[in-house]
Symmetry: C2
Subunit: 236 residues, 2 copies
DNA sequence: ATGTACGAAATCGTATACGATACATCCTCC
DNA sequence: GGAGGATGTATCGTATACGATTTCGTACAT
């Protein structure tokens, strides 16, 4: 579970063994996306068609298609006749993304809550406990991964796949921040763990949808607020 | 405004005059999308690469790229080695889309509300009055277009473009239903007009964000509920 | 020394060609 | 007469080639 969040797709250096059955276009997409999410391709990295095609052993056409798909997801920025670069995320973009995420995560949590059984809450608690450990050992990368795992458990039986898709898109968009301390605002992580516990209690108590939605939304907003409070220091 | 909603992009039969400056890939995208949204390409319509390319006077490569982009937006369904068809929207898909729309529209309305001035509310009222007329003359197509115009006015200064983008995607997804009576559930249209007025009053009264969000969300949900109540009759 | 014009290199955009796949049709065999 | 397989056609998937555009460095003139 956790490993999957860090490296969702197995990738070899030459990218040849990814889902051998699917098209090269598909494999290009998967390979490039994996490298962006795992951090090999950092924001600003220039994605040169011919170079990537050579790396993967494909021609440029499928690679081009893959990059356009990634553009549609906001993971890369494309400029005509110039090329594609891995999207960065400036403070404004961060704000938009976090705000949107708060809304869709809130909705996803409220919709999923009635379907979360005691086994799932137990698993979520285990992950949350693990997060607390990461906090003590100061391991922001693992903390972030576990944070996603926690919410993924809650969303496992989300009845609306569209909303879930929006959540994932937001997460992917934020993933390019992985190696920075942008998301790890001092003091927020501890609160986050506490809020997770409070959220689980609301779910177990079968609180009404509005209450759960509000709590889940606030959980994300609080991180945004913490960032905004520190913005002068974090924005260069 | 209204005309724009019905035919957002001017398209000639041969598609040659769309934004002459942009790439053929871009023009293909615009042309195909326009035809889907205006209803020339109805759900289930088979998009054959070579045929479309010939129609547009381009080669298949840019057309292919355009279709993949439309796929990412959910407007067309692509099957490997088989081809693309204009996406239909079955009852389940309709439910997902409406539910998601209710959430993002609710958020968009709440975020925009403080920025809506009296000029905008007056314009919105005019559109709403026009909708009432369409109701009397039973003009579902125009009604639907005006309905979008109404909300577009509210969202004009939406501070979060990401959320606005999600709203538009939902609208586009529903647009393939244009020529059917699917969306025009008996009795709902009248309520819709009344709800618009109520929403405007909340906005003018500077009601708190939660209240406005709830009202806006409910506005969409009510249509979904009305559909669900009639589902046995409408689902064949 | 600085600004401008020119040219070369890098990279993308599109066309064309051909191989691969899937689906439909028809034929054969039982 | 029906079921199974072989064949044909439509269509997609990818490679390669070349033209178009941008960018950057360099040389020249001021």
């Amino acid at each position: 579970m956790t490993d999957a969040a860090v490296a969702p797709v197995p990738v070899t250096q030459d990218g040849a063994e990814i889902a051998p059955g699917s098209s090269k276009s598909e494999r290009s997409y998967t390979a490039i996306k994996a490298r962006i999410l795992e951090g090999s391709f950092t924001p600003g990295y220039r994605l040169v068609l011919a170079k990537i095609a050579a790396d993967l052993g494909f021609s440029v056409v499928p690679v081009r298609e893959a990059i356009r798909r990634l553009e549609a997801e906001g993971l890369v920025t494309f400029k005509r006749n110039v090329g594609a670069t891995v999207s960065g995320i400036d403070p404004t973009e961060y704000l938009y993304t976090m705000q949107t995420l708060s809304i869709v995560e809130g909705a996803a949590t409220a919709l999923s809550a009635p379907l979360i059984d005691s086994v799932a809450t137990a698993r979520a608690r285990a992950v949350n406990a693990h997060m607390r450990e990461c906090l003590e050992h100061f391991d922001p990368v693992r903390f972030t991964a576990l944070n996603q795992d926690f919410h993924s458990i809650l969303f496992e039986h989300c009845p609306n796949p569209h909303i879930l898709d929006l959540v994932h898109r937001g997460w992917n968009r934020l993933a390019t921040l992985r190696s920075s301390t942008f998301r790890f605002v001092p003091g927020r992580a501890k609160e986050s763990v506490l809020e997770h516990e409070a959220l689980l209690q609301l779910i177990e108590a079968a609180a009404d949808a509005d209450t759960i939605e509000r709590a889940a939304r606030q959980h994300r907003i609080a991180t945004l607020d913490a960032y905004l409070a520190h913005a002068p220091a974090l924005t260069d």
